[in-house]
């Protein structure tokens, strides 16, 4: 009896071991972690669009509506004709330039699919206010950029049904990566004629100075509370233009330009920043194109720009 008990104990121990290892093995194929995504949750995040039109929401946009939106939201960086301002990307031109010494890669000359334009404007533009456009606005701006590239007529209306049928001029000139494309060998001796080596020296004067310390810590000491509150807004929404001086935007260090504007009084400057302003030197889109900012946000940011050194 005693030995039988012992045997049973041993057996059940073995069984326990066997079961636990089976249980572990089963876990590896399926963990059951995570929550099922609902159709509504997926719809809210599923923004991507493919060349065949999959993913496009219902909507439409005309060239004339697109022109208005483009001038207000895009032209300050991309130029009224898509020529690009400063270092911001040009969107039009450059036809037949891809084999030239200085190719111009634009939507018209380079991009293979019109869907890419719709998708990118929708997901990432305007630069300071991504994912702020409604579908009809994206259709209209997309149509206008296609128009700037002479790809559609001025009475064209872009919709979810005709976007996939637009053939881009450069579509057939892309092919799948075929590297490795070089075939160097591991030569060890007399690999080339030393008398034929020509040394080309480096261009001077364009390398950043590594001895110069990066000024990463800014002093807040001299700033008013309003200005300190506006600093983060400036960085996320205003820096794009006011950092580089695009479209006539005064930069932080350009105190002369700010002084001129302040002659009309701070309230007017803030009013123009909130409501938009078209001046001689350039234009300020309402709230810098980021309509999600409150009036207070914009006011604080203006104070920061005026006060910051």
């Amino acid at each position: 009896m005693f030995s039988l008990n012992k045997l049973l104990v041993c057996l059940s121990f073995l069984v326990a071991i066997t079961f636990s290892s089976i249980a572990l093995a089963e876990d590896i194929s399926h963990f059951g972690i995570g929550k099922t995504a609902t159709p509504e949750e997926i719809a809210g995040w599923d923004i991507d669009v493919r060349p065949d039109g999959k993913g496009l929401p219902k909507g439409q946009g005309s060239i004339s509506v697109g022109e208005e939106l483009y001038e207000a939201k895009c032209a300050s960086c991309h130029g009224s004709f898509g020529e690009g301002v400063g270092r911001w990307p040009p969107l039009a031109g450059g036809e037949d330039s891809l084999r030239e010494d200085r190719p111009e890669k634009t939507v018209g000359s380079y991009w293979p699919y019109a869907s890419t334009l719709w998708d990118y404007i929708n997901r990432a533009m305007p630069f300071p206010a991504p994912q702020s456009l409604k579908p009809d606005e994206v259709y209209a701006i997309t149509a206008y950029v296609l128009y700037l590239n002479d790809l559609v007529e001025d009475d064209f209306v872009l919709t979810q049904d005709n976007l996939a049928s637009i053939k881009m001029p450069n579509e057939d000139n892309f092919y799948i990566d075929d590297r490795p494309d070089t075939n160097n060998t591991r030569c060890m001796k007399k690999c080339k004629d030393p008398s034929k080596i020509v040394v080309i020296q480096s261009l001077s004067g364009i390398t950043p100075d590594q001895e110069k310390e990066e000024s990463t810590t800014e002093q807040n000491n001299s700033l008013s509370e309003t200005a300190i509150a506006g600093k983060a807004i400036y960085t996320s929404s205003c820096l794009v233009c006011h950092g580089s001086g695009v479209a006539g935007a005064p930069t932080l260090t350009d105190k002369e330009s700010w002084a001129k504007r302040l002659e009309q009084g701070m309230d007017t400057v803030v009013k123009h920043a909130i409501g938009g302003f078209l001046g001689e030197k350039g234009m300020m889109p309402p709230k810098g194109g980021n309509m999600s900012l409150t009036d207070e946000d914009v006011k604080n940011a203006v104070h920061y720009m005026v006060e910051a050194e």
Partner: protein, 436 residues
């Protein structure tokens, strides 16, 4: 100058000038270099004279107490290392929000890049993501679309790998000619970390990919909603969903709290701040895989989906930032890497590629990771043309610049992995040059 409108064009324009550098500006640079080294010597002499910290004196720090524990709860490098920082080339991009910085690889030791020095690449700045409110959604051609919290992701078995991360534009400023007078700017768009996370294949098994599912769209939660199409083969091979680097949670710059990581592939495919993976039957052809990150060839056609970072290497000592001094014994040291596997050999030439000798691979030699090579060398003081050449385990031999240009021309921007040349002058200084 109409060329100044566009980053690529102005870059190209500047590069094009390389062939006609006025000798006066070269003299300026030399003068500047000499001034700099005299400055260093002067500082060293002054501090030695006033410090009394050298033998036979007892240094001051040996005769006082230092700071106590947790005086710096999160440690920072010594104040004497403040020159070891990421840097950018301001004229390269329109602003700093959509831009790139370079790791100071001229100062780094071993193969691991410290987290604060990993190069940055943003398409719309680095967002501040609250991990409590961050979600990863996987949907599309799957049986069971799922949403994961960060806690969910960390419940899966984790894996750690040591892999490099490199921007395909690394070296891209030099297609037309040498123009960067520092290693940090010629090769600094690369870093190497231990990355920890869950295998993407594990998560894909969890949602149940349908047989038609051949591509995955990876999308970030940043303001660019950065997106790339990834083939299913890569996802099932070695792609990871990563939440930690070098032992701690990802830095915000690296995609905190979670990113995709594709070992050996161009960095932008390792989408940061990852919020969504959609399974589909075709690629999406989004902006960052059509307008950008495609390689324009001389015939006007372009390569797309050029994912792999081919074998590459560079000598990190000496380099413009690490010149030699007097003649004598030195170690020629450098880094090699390949997106296709392990580094098998690195050869070094001191005569511009006429003769080569094998260098020793030292430390860890890991697949798709930075690998150190070394060649002790007695320098006679003669000018040299120093080069390194990597060979990976597939047998691929790093090409010369001429071989690369013969096929790709000078306008493809990305994937410039050619043999690099440093000109060592008899004064020990190093110049970035190219050989014709």
């Amino acid at each position: 100058m109409s060329n100044s409108k566009k980053p690529e064009s102005s870059k190209a324009y500047l590069a094009g000038l390389a062939n006609q550098v006025p000798s006066s500006s070269r003299r300026d640079f030399l003068k500047k270099g000499i001034k700099f080294s005299t400055g260093l010597a002067a500082t060293a002499a002054t501090s030695a004279a006033i410090s009394d910290n050298l033998p036979p004196n007892i240094p001051s720090w040996s005769k006082t107490l230092g700071s106590g524990v947790v005086s710096t709860p999160y440690g920072i490098p010594s104040k004497f290392e403040k020159n070891v920082i990421r840097r950018t080339v301001p004229w390269l991009t329109a602003d700093k929000i959509s831009s790139i910085s370079m790791s100071p690889i001229q100062e780094l030791k071993g193969i691991i890049t410290p987290n604060g020095l990993v190069f940055e690449r943003y398409h719309a700045g680095a967002p501040i993501v609250n991990p409590e409110e961050h979600r990863l959604m996987i949907h599309g051609l799957v049986d069971n679309p799922l949403i994961f919290t960060m806690d969910d992701l960390m419940r899966f078995p984790s894996e750690s790998v040591i892999n490099f991360l490199e921007c395909p534009a690394n070296g891209g400023m030099e297609w037309r000619g040498p123009q960067m007078e520092a290693l940090q700017f010629t090769h600094g768009m690369i870093s190497c970390c231990e990355w920890t996370g869950v295998r993407l294949s594990t998560l894909l098994a969890e949602v149940g990919v349908q047989t038609k599912g051949k591509w995955i769209l990876a999308e970030g939660a940043d303001g660019a909603a950065m997106s790339r199409s990834i083939p299913m083969d890569k996802a099932l091979d070695d792609a990871l969903i990563v939440y930690a680097q070098n032992g701690e949670m990802l830095r915000p710059e690296q995609g905190y709290p979670v990113r995709l990581f594709n070992p050996g592939w161009e960095g932008n495919t390792s989408v940061k701040w990852l919020r969504r993976l959609e399974i589909g039957d075709k690629p999406w052809h989004h902006r960052e895989e059509t307008s950008k990150y495609t390689d324009l060839m001389p015939d006007g056609r372009s390569r797309r989906f050029s994912y792999e970072q081919e074998a590459n290497s560079v000598i990190t000592s000496p380099c413009p930032e690490n010149p030699w001094g007097q003649k004598g014994a030195y170690e020629i040291e450098g880094l090699a890497w390949s997106g296709r596997g392990k580094i098998k050999h690195v050869d070094v030439s001191i005569d511009g590629g006429v003769t080569w000798r094998p260098a020793r691979l030292k430390g860890l030699v890991l697949s798709k990771a930075l690998t150190r090579f070394s060649l002790p060398f007695k320098w006679s003081g003669a000018p040299l043309l120093l080069q390194s050449r990597a060979i990976d385990e597939t047998g691929y031999v790093q090409p010369t610049l001429n071989q690369l240009r013969d096929i790709r021309g000078t306008n493809s921007i990305y994937h410039k992995n050619s043999i690099h040349t440093w000109q060592l002058q008899s004064n020990g200084k190093i110049k970035n040059v190219q050989l014709k």
